[in-house]
Point group: D3
Chain length 336, copies 6
C-alpha cells in the first residue's frame, strides 16, 4: 500500500551512556520525528512510504535524507530550502532520573515552509493512507496550514486519514492547541489520542468516575467520534514503574465498541522515544493489511513494546518479530 | 591438573550498546566457542589447559591464538591452515527483545580439518581430563570424526572424558544429531545435558508426569546413564524472566542419586553467551579438585551466574570470587 | 553561604561498559574524593565553596583543578607540589558481580602535605561551614594532623563543622581508626555516620535488641552526641537487592529526637560512587538554607538517590530536580 | 541517465586508528565493492543507478541493502539467498607500513549466484550504461558467466558498456584471469586498465623502451583497442611516496589519440580503498554528461584524489566539490 | 592583568576521524568563539579574564559556562536568557579536501541580547584590556550596538582596546561589514587584520606593486593607523600547502615601523580553528606583560602554530611551552 | 633460542586522538617498558622469551601478565607482591608539539623488589641471551642491585649479555647514572648506546672534530669497547624533522670496524615509544640467528622504523614484514 506522512524531521543529539547534558562532550546523532518514525516503520513493514517535509539545502539536510532512504522511506517530495534543520537534545534518563528534552527547532526549514513547497496533486497519486500529528500543528502557523491543506486534499481523494494528537507542552500551550486540534479532527478517520487529550484539549466532559477505566474511555471516545466523525480512536495506557521500566497496554474504540489488548506488557526500556509512533505505525499496518481491530491492537502494542528496546527514534522490529513477540515465542533465549 | 579441550574457536562480532545488526557500523570482536570457553575458565582456575583446534594461517588466526594465550590457555597443538576462521554475528537482545545469532562458520579451517592435523599421542601426554561438545559433532563430518577419535584415544588412556550435548538447531537437525550424539556417549564419563536433550535427541521416554521435577529428571538420567555408561549427568534449569533477567538452578545425577543446587539464583544479565560453558568448567574444576558433587554443583552454578555479568564469551570470575558468591559474601557493596 | 571542605582529590580510572579490570584496554577518567564531591554538590546548589587539598605541579594536577573549576568549586587554596596525584581504579560491578576498587593513593601530594601548605587564617575568612571526613584522617599521619588543625581552627572561629566518619577498611584498620575518629569528634557539630561506625569504631554499646531499628539508633546516637558534644547525627540505611539495585532510607538524630525519611526509595544504579557524599551535601545544603531537619533529611535522601543515576563521583542533580523527585513529580515521563 | 552496475558487495571490517589486525578488539564496518562503489558515486552525481548482486536473506544482507539505499543506489534487482555475505578485513597501513587485506569472500551468495537470479530483460529497461569489472570475473565461474551474459545483453540493447580490468592476485592467478578478461573485452566500449594489465593479462607486446611513458601507453592501448574493438582506455599512473602519500595522474587513449590529465596531484591519504572506482565513476559521469575526454579525465582524476581523503569505500565528493578541486579553488581554507 | 572580552560562545559539533557531515552518526562537542578563545588563552597565561556574552537558561547554556570555567575564564557577567545557543557544525578537511562550516547561530541568545543585559560600569572595574572582533559586529544589529557601546565605555575609562577584524563571509556581506568595521576602528588601539581587510573592507588603496611584501603592508597599515588612530596592526601571512599543512609568519606595524617574525613556520595541522585567536591572545599577553613588539610577535606566532596542533577551539599551550617552541628547544623528542 | 630480559613493566595511559593531558577524559591503556618491549619483539620473532620483573598481587598486575602472555612472552618467573604497578602518562605530540611523559613509577613493586624475589639459577636454565637496560639501573637501588646480580650470573654461565644504556633524565641525574652504568658495562657483550651516552655518561673524550660522523663514532666506541671489554656497540642516528616525522639510520662498531646501515629512512610516526627497543630486539634477533652484522643492522633499522608505525609499546612487525621492508618490496600498495 502507498502511504504519505507529513511532519518535521529533526536531528536528535544524545549524549552517550546516560551522560547528562551538562557533562556532554559528544553526541550521538540520529534523525527522527513523529511522522518520520511512522514512515520508517511502515516502510519496514513493506509499504511504499513517502515522507513529506522541508529540509535545508546543506549537508545536514542531505544527511537527514540519506537516513530516511536507508530506512527505505521515499524522499522525492521533500522540499529543500530554508534556514536550518530542527534539532533536539535528548538527555536519556535512567532509574529515577527523568529524561530531558531541549528543543531547538524554531526557525527550521519546515516551520517556515509554505504551501507552494508541496504539490499534493502529485504527492497523493495512488496513496491509500495519509498520516500526520499534532506536533506538526504546533510547529508554526505555516506548518499548521500545510497540514490542514494536506488532510483536506487527502480526504477529498478518499484517502484514509490518520492523526496522532501528540500534544507537546514544550511546543505550544493548551489555549493554542485546542482550536487547532479541533479544526483538523473533522478530517480524521483514525485518531491516536488518550484520556488527557480528550479532556484537556477537546474539552469533552469526563464521564462520572463510578465506572471502570474501559468504561470511562468508552464514554469519552464515543463523544469524540460523535462530535468529529472520527472512525476509530486508539491509545495506550502507560504506567511508569521507573524511568526505564514501564507497563503498557492498548485500547481501541470503534463503532461503539471498546477493545483492550489481550495482554499488558511490563518491560525495561533502552530508548523511550518513538514508542508512540511505533504503536501508531503498528496499528496502521494492521489496518492497511485488513486485519481485525483486535489483532491490530495487539500488533500495535507489540510493536510499541519492542520499539522501547531499540536505540534511535525508529522502530526496527520486523513484522515477523512483532508477531513472534505477540505470540510469546522464544522471548528469553538466543536462537543458535 | 592437565586438561585438553577440542572444538572450534570463532570470532564473535557484536554491535555495541545493544545496537541491532541492521544498524551496525562497528563490531566488538572477541573470540569464543564452547570448548575454548571451558578451556579459558579452567586455565583461570589454575589448570594447565591445551585447547585443540585448527585455525587459518593468517592474522585472524594469529589474533585468535593471542587471545587464547592472554587467557592462559596453551596453544601448541593448534593446527594452522585451511580457508578461514569461523565467525558469528551476535545481536545482543535486551528486555523483551531476543538475542540473534548469525553463524558464518561453514568452510572454516576446523570444519575442514583432517585426522592428520592432530597427534593425540602427543596431545594426551599427562592429561587428566578431555572435554568436547555436541557443537563439534555438528560442525562437519570431519570434525565429528576427529572428536570421536579424540574421545576414544582419551578413554583408552584412562583420561576422564567430559561432554556437553549442547544441541544447536542452527547447526544441524535432530535427525542428524541423534546418531552422532548417541555414538559418542558410550565414551563419556561426565555428561552435561538437559531434559530436552534426553527426550528429543536420545529418545529416552519421558517418565510419567505425576512426579515432581527432580523425580522426572532422576528417571530420565538414570536411563541415560544405564544405556550409555555415563557416570554423571549435570544440567541447569533456566527460567527466562526477560531476555536480560534469568533464574538459574543446577541439578546433578550420579549413581542413582539426584542433587539440586542449594539455592537458585535470579539475576540481571550483561552477556549471556558462555553461561553454559562456565557451568561446565565450574563443575569440572570441582571434579578435578576432588570436591564432592554438591559443592561442585553449587560452584558450577555460581560460576555460571557470575559469567552472565561478564562481557565476552569467557568466564573471568576467579575461584575466590565464585566461592564468595556461593557463600553470599559482600555482594552488594564496594569494598574500599 | 561560604563553605570549606578539606580532603584528597583522586583521579578515578574506570574501564567502560562494565568491563573487568583484567580486560581493560581503556579507562574513563574522572576526578573525585569524598570532600571534593561534597564541595561540587554544594557549589551546584549555589554556595561559594573552597576545596582545600594538595596536588602535584604537573598536568594531572592541573587537569584535576580544571575539573573542579568546571564544577564551580573554587580552587585558590589548593597547594601544589609533592610527588603524585592519588589514583584509584574502579571496576564497576553489575547484577550479582560486586564492584572492586584498587587504591593507588599512597605517597600522594596530599598524603605528604604539611601544615605549612595551608593558611587557615586566610582560608576561613567569611566561612560558614567546614566539612571533612574520616577518609582524610586515614590517608596519612600528616593528613590527619592537618584535618585536626583545620577543624579546631574552624571551631575557634565559630564555623559550623561537619564530619563524615566514612570508614574505609582498605585505608586503615579499626585499631588505627578508633583513636583518630574519637579525637576529632569533640570538634564536630554535624556528624554523618551509621550503626557500624558507632559500635565498631566509637565502641558505643549497642542497645538491647528488643527495640526496633529506630529505637536502636536513637539509643546509640544519643550516647554518641552525649559523649562527644555532637549536635546531629545523620545516616542512611542501605539494603542491597543486587549490586545495581539498592533500597535507601535516611535517619537523623538531634536533641533527643529521631526522624526517619518520609519515604524509602528503591532504585537501579548507574554509578554508586559518591552516593554518601551527595547525601551529606544534600543535608548540609538544607542546613545552610535554614530548612528544618525533616525537610533536610528528605532532601538529602533524594540527592543521594539521584546521584546513583549520574555517572562520575559528583552529584549533578540540581536543587530543583531533587525537590521534584522528593515531591514525586514527573518521574516517569519525558517532558517534551 | 540510467546506469546498471553488477558485482559483489562485501562487508569491510577495519580496525580503527591504524590498529593492526592482531591487535583488533573492534572493527568499523562499511560495505563496498568495485562496482557498488561506482554505483554510489554515480548516484551521488545524480544518475539513477541500479546495483545488481546477490545477498543472503539475513540481517547482514539487509544491512548491506540499507547501506546502498542510504547512498541513493537502487536495489530492487538485488537477488536474496545463498549462504553468506562476502567479507574482507582491511588493516590500514600508514607511513611505511603497507595495508593488508584478508579476503573472506568465498562461498558468498554472489559467488554462488546463478543465471536465473537476474532478469536482464527487466533490469536493462531504459539503461544507458552498464559497468562491471574483472573482480566479478574472478569471484567464481558462476559470477563470470553472469557477467558475460549481462554484458552481452547490454551490448545487444545498444547500452554503452564499461569494464574495469581490476586484476586482484588474491582472487585468481594470471593463468585463470587471461582467458576470462580476453573473452569479455570484445563486448567492452570503455575500458579502465593499465600498463601491467595490457602486458601481463592481455599479453600485448610492450613497445620498445626508447619511447616516453605516454608514447609507450599509446602503442599498447592502440593494440588493445584494435584487437578487442574497445573505444577508450583510461588509466591512472600512481606513484607511492609512502603508504599514505601518493602521486596520481590520469591517461586516456581514444581513436589514436592520447590525453594526459592537465595536472598530476600529490596528496595525503585517509582511505585508499575505492580510489580507482572513484576514478572510473568520475569518467563515466563525464561521459554520460557529454563532456569531452580531457574534461572527463581531469574530473575523473579529481574525483579519485578526493576519494582518497574520504573514509569508507564510496566517494562522497560531489560534482561541485570535484570541479572546485579541479579548478583549484579554495583548497586550503575553511569557508566560514 | 584584568581582561574583558565580548562575543558569542557557540557549541561546535564535529564528526570524529575526519568523517564527512553526510556520514556523521556522532559529533564531538566543544565550545568556542573568537573572543572566548582569546579569553581562554589569556586565562591560561595567568590573567584574570571576564568573558561577556549571553547564553540561554538551559542545560546547554550551563554546559557552555562550565566549559569556560574549566578553562579558568570568569563568567559572572554572562547574561542568561533568550532562545538558544549558537551552534556550528565543522567538517574537518584533510589533505586536499577543505574543511566545511555550517553555521546555525541565527536567533541565538547573544544575537538577540540587548544593551540592558550588560552593565559595563561594573564589568570594567579594574580592567586593563578589552577585546572584541568583527564577528560580533556581524552577528546582528543588536550585537553590533553592544560591541560599540562596550568599546566606547572601555575607551572612556582608558582601557586598552583590541579588535580582530575577522571578516566572515558566511555571516555578512562586504557592503554590510564596511560601515560597521569603519565605525568601530576609531576606538581601537590594537588591531588584528590583514591585507584583504585593509583593501576590501577599509577600502584603503593598495600601494603600487613594485614593492616587496613588507613594503606593501607598511604602506597599507600606515594609512590604516593614520585614518583611524589605531596604534598597532598585527597580522599573519598564511600559505596553505594543503588543507592540513600550512606555513605561517607574522607581521606587525607600529609607529611607522614594520616587524616580521624572526622565523616563518611550516607545520602539520590537527585543528585549524582558533589559530587566529591564539595569535591575538599571544600578542595581547606579550603586550600586557610589557614585552617588546618583536618578542610579542614571535610569541604570538608560536602560540598560533602550537594551537594548530591542539584539538578544540582553545589554545592549551602554556607560556612556557610557547617560549620553548620559539626558542626551538626539544621539539622532536619525548622528554622522559 | 631462549632469552631472558629483566626490567619494569608499566601501565601506559595515553589520551586518545592527540588529546592533551589537561583535556583527558579517557585513557588508552597498554603495558610496556624497555626490556618488556624487547621481550615481546623477540617472542614474535620465534624465540622463547622469559620476562623477569615484579608486579603487584592485584588485578592490574594480572592484567599486565595477561598482556605479556598475549604477546607470547613467558611469565613464570615474574614475582608478585609489593605496593603498586608503575604507571606513566603519555601525551602524544604531533607536528611541532612535543610528546610529554609523566612518570608515576616510584614505589612500584619492581622498584622495591629484593634479590630473593628472583632465582637466577632456575631462570637462566638453557638461556642464550640476557638483556637489560639503564632504565632498570635508574629505577631504584634495589633494581640496580638485582640487575647487577643478574648480569653477573648470566656472564658466569656464558650467556651472551646485552645492555641498552637508555639514559632517562626524568629517572636520575648524570651524577647518579655514571657510576651505575660504568659498573655494569664490564659484564656487557652487546651494548646499545649513542654519542651522548659515551661522552656524557662514560666520560670518554670526544675525538677531534675534524673527522666525519662515522669517524667520530669509531673513535668513541673503540675507546668504549677497549675500556669495558664490550664486543659490539650499536646505535641509531635520529633526525627529527617534526615531532611526527623522523629520519633514522643505524651504526655498529665491532672489532675495530664501523658499519652504517645501507639506507637511512625518513618516515611519519604513529607511535614513537618503543622505537629503540624494536631496534635492539631486531639486532638481537639477527645476532641469535647468526646473521652478519650488516644484515643485523639493516634488520634492526627496519624493525625500528616499522615500530614507529604501530600503536603501543611493542613492535608487532613480523620478521617477514621487516625483511620485505628492508628489501623495499611493495611498500606503497595494498596487496589484494
Amino acid at each position: 500500500m502507498k502511504v504519505v506522512t507529513l511532519g518535521e524531521l529533526m536531528m536528535r543529539l544524545t549524549p552517550p551512556n546516560y551522560s547528562r547534558l551538562v557533562q556532554a562532550t559528544e553526541f550521538q546523532a540520529v534523525f527522527g520525528g513523529g511522522e518520520a518514525n511512522v514512515a520508517a516503520s511502515l516502510a519496514l513493514f513493506g509499504h511504499k512510504v513517502q515522507f513529506v517535509t522541508k529540509l535545508p539545502e546543506n549537508e545536514l539536510g542531505t544527511c537527514a535524507i540519506r537516513h530516511l532512504e536507508q530506512q527505505g522511506v521515499q524522499t522525492e517530495f521533500i522540499a529543500r530550502g530554508g534556514e536550518r534543520i530542527g534539532l533536539y537534545f535528548l538527555e536519556q534518563g535512567i532509574s529515577v532520573r527523568p529524561s530531558q528534552v531541549i528543543y531547538d527547532r524554531k526557525h527550521s526549514s519546515f516551520a517556515k515552509a509554505c504551501q507552494g513547497d508541496f504539490d499534493w496533486e502529485e504527492i497523493f497519486v495512488g496513496a491509500d493512507l495519509f498520516h500526520t500529528s499534532g506536533i506538526t500543528l504546533g510547529i508554526s502557523d505555516k506548518a499548521r496550514e500545510i497540514a490542514l491543506t494536506a488532510i483536506k486534499e487527502a480526504k477529498e481523494r478518499g484517502i484514509t486519514t490518520s492523526f496522532d494528537i501528540n500534544y507537546r507542552s514544550k511546543l505550544w500551550g493548551l489555549e493554542e492547541a485546542r482550536p487547532a486540534i479541533k479544526s483538523i479532527l473533522p478530517y480524521v478517520d483514525i485518531c491516536f489520542g488518550g484520556y488527557l487529550d480528550a479532556v484537556k484539549i477537546l474539552e469533552i466532559n469526563s464521564p462520572v468516575s463510578g465506572k471502570d477505566k474501559a468504561g470511562l474511555y468508552q464514554d469519552l471516545f464515543q463523544q469524540l467520534c460523535a462530535t468529529y466523525g472520527v472512525r476509530k480512536v486508539i491509545c495506550t495506557f502507560r504506567e511508569t514503574l521507573s524511568v526505564t521500566r514501564h507497563s503498557l497496554t492498548g485500547y481501541l474504540y470503534s463503532r461503539g465498541e471498546s477493545i483492550l489488548a489481550t495482554e499488558s506488557q511490563t518491560f525495561d526500556i533502552l530508548d523511550r522515544v518513538g514508542g508512540g509512533d511505533a504503536f501508531a505505525a503498528g496499528f496502521l499496518h494492521a489496518h492497511l493489511s485488513g486485519w481485525g481491530d483486535e489483532d491490530g491492537l495487539n500488533f500495535a502494542l507489540g510493536a510499541s513494546v519492542l520499539k522501547h528496546t531499540i536505540s534511535g527514534d525508529a522502530n526496527l522490529a520486523t513484522e515477523k518479530e512483532i508477531q513472534a513477540f505477540v505470540a510469546d515465542e522464544g522471548v528469553g533465549g538466543i536462537v543458535r
